[in-house]
Symmetry: D2
Subunit: 190 residues, 4 copies
């Protein structure tokens, strides 16, 4: 049984932003992956979501899409560290680089480079039943939810949750509760 609860410290990290443990766990859980799912991880960063998805979908394939070269190297390194073979690295910018890929069943979007609507439209042309899970950390991305509702009225029941996590951190003899930035997790049920 593949563990969904991998710690942040187990991933090789650079200066690339990484989806944090609790947000990664919840995002992958909300994808509701199957053993044979075809997954796009768009804006894959360090590849942490791709790795967890790859460990779940042992008969499927994960496409980690990343345009930043440091990110690409980190995904390579993490793929090797975790020994996953069902993870394909795609260097490029979505939605352009999605054209030649097989249709996905599940799509995680950690970063969209301002092209959220275009990405959703491109994926839907491949598979209108694909399930999306999005992370939003900026007011601008949050504002896109309204545009998604307008552009895709098919999604009647969009789930939007906000998650705030604080962690205790040792400070001398005390334990300080330290906040992580709040993240919105948005689910579009295909």
């Amino acid at each position: 049984m593949a563990n969904i609860g991998i710690k942040d410290t187990e991933f090789i990290r650079g200066n690339v932003p990484m989806t944090k443990e609790e947000i990664r766990i919840l995002s992958v859980a909300k994808l509701q992956l199957e053993e044979d799912s075809i997954v796009y991880d768009i804006g894959a960063g360090t590849g942490s979501v791709s790795i967890v998805a790859a460990l779940q979908c042992v008969k499927g394939t994960i496409y980690a899409i990343e345009r930043n070269s440091e990110g690409v190297e980190l995904i390579h390194a993490n793929k090797e560290k975790f020994g996953v073979t069902n993870l394909q690295l795609v260097e490029g910018t979505a939605p352009d680089c999605l054209e030649t890929l097989p249709a996905p069943t599940h799509v995680f979007i950690g970063g969209s480079g301002g092209k959220l609507i275009d990405i959703i439209r491109t994926v839907r042309e491949k598979n209108p039943k694909a399930r999306f899970v999005l992370n939003a950390v900026t007011l601008e991305t949050l504002g896109e939810i309204q545009k998604i509702r307008e552009a895709f009225p098919e999604y009647e029941d969009i789930e939007v949750i906000q998650v705030g996590v604080s962690k205790s951190r040792k400070l001398g003899e005390y334990h300080l509760m330290t906040a992580e930035n709040p993240v919105y997790i948005i689910t579009l049920k295909g």
Copy 2:
């Protein structure tokens, strides 16, 4: 592959408090269950954590411990609904009713009836390497963390996180962000 992301609405619920979706997902993920784990779910309530754990540990056994009769009935109903056969229902109060059970590898404590230290001690006598995940929603239970540190100095690296979740709820033409009560999730690594 068993899905960890079961929705709250899929469980049969009464007036018994239920661990909410996101807290259930994170708590089970932090348990880091194996296929053959022996799990105690103490203060099992509706049995939602037990059900998810049972679906993960297909070669293991889950012991759902609950003293409230309405809870016991709900666990029965949910066990039947999800068709899990590796879930044993134990009606009684921890730690007393734990005596005759096999040693666990993982323990989730959703409610301790004020006996948290006693429960941990009883479990540790059975298996000092058992991993604990606790939920705390009251100031009193939170105050117990300090007592755990004092009573069990073996746990050098106790993880304490607080999770706050808000969900969008339709209100006329608007979507109101609605808060759930914050929950502390505490992990004792055996």
Copy 3:
């Protein structure tokens, strides 16, 4: 010295939504009222923000704007209870009912009925230096921030904060931390 920290229970309340204590305190503090300020409280609800502002601005005037008749009655009742004489009740819908009012120095918007941009524009025609504090509890209102940026590039430094408050509530012998819905407080510095 007028106290800004009035408790929710001190106000006469009906079924009308009320700005909660901590959000009211922070919103009024961020208005940075002066003794002689002219204040609009748009979507005044129970009038709780108007009352606190009236107690601060002893040489100024507060205009409580409310379209809901139950709200209007509550504002009357609270005005009487707190004995404030510098509070004018305006029954009507903003921005229409603002036309005949004196130019404000400070504007609090608790509810805009979907007319946020129009209200800001109308106020700015009266006084382009007016300071605005807005509360947003829906995703739709939050999405308006981007429209404010586009419509009024003069506001270079819009402050957006989100505040989440939990309060301990007695539950038998325990104290449960109970969450209030998160509120965004937005400040436009005139």
Copy 4:
């Protein structure tokens, strides 16, 4: 009218932890100061709470108690910057250094150096009706609430709130919501 809403950037700051704007506003509001209040600010840090209190209590006196020499210098600097004359600086450790001070009507405790119960006891000997507002950011201080309940059953109605604040921060063309650490604000009504 003294403004309670002073921005963090208006205070002279060093490497000393400062009570952040929103927590300072709420804490001072919950003190419910009067014009002639006698206030202790224990663990005064940069003196930001003392300054705001001094501006409110124009006929009262604020005693800023701080043991750290860098803090003492910052309080001096801020006292001068804001031109308040009703602020007395007390270099030392509470409760010892409280002995010779006049009885307070209001006490803010931002840091207690682990002596919370002793400080409350010492103040209560001077004035059993003094109102306390405490900030807690560590699990250990939070655990002290239970000890306060046990040591001082006179406080029947202790208010405990937790406040989480996130602020938008410009990041290129985007606005990232950035979390501040959660703070518990505890009020003991004398």
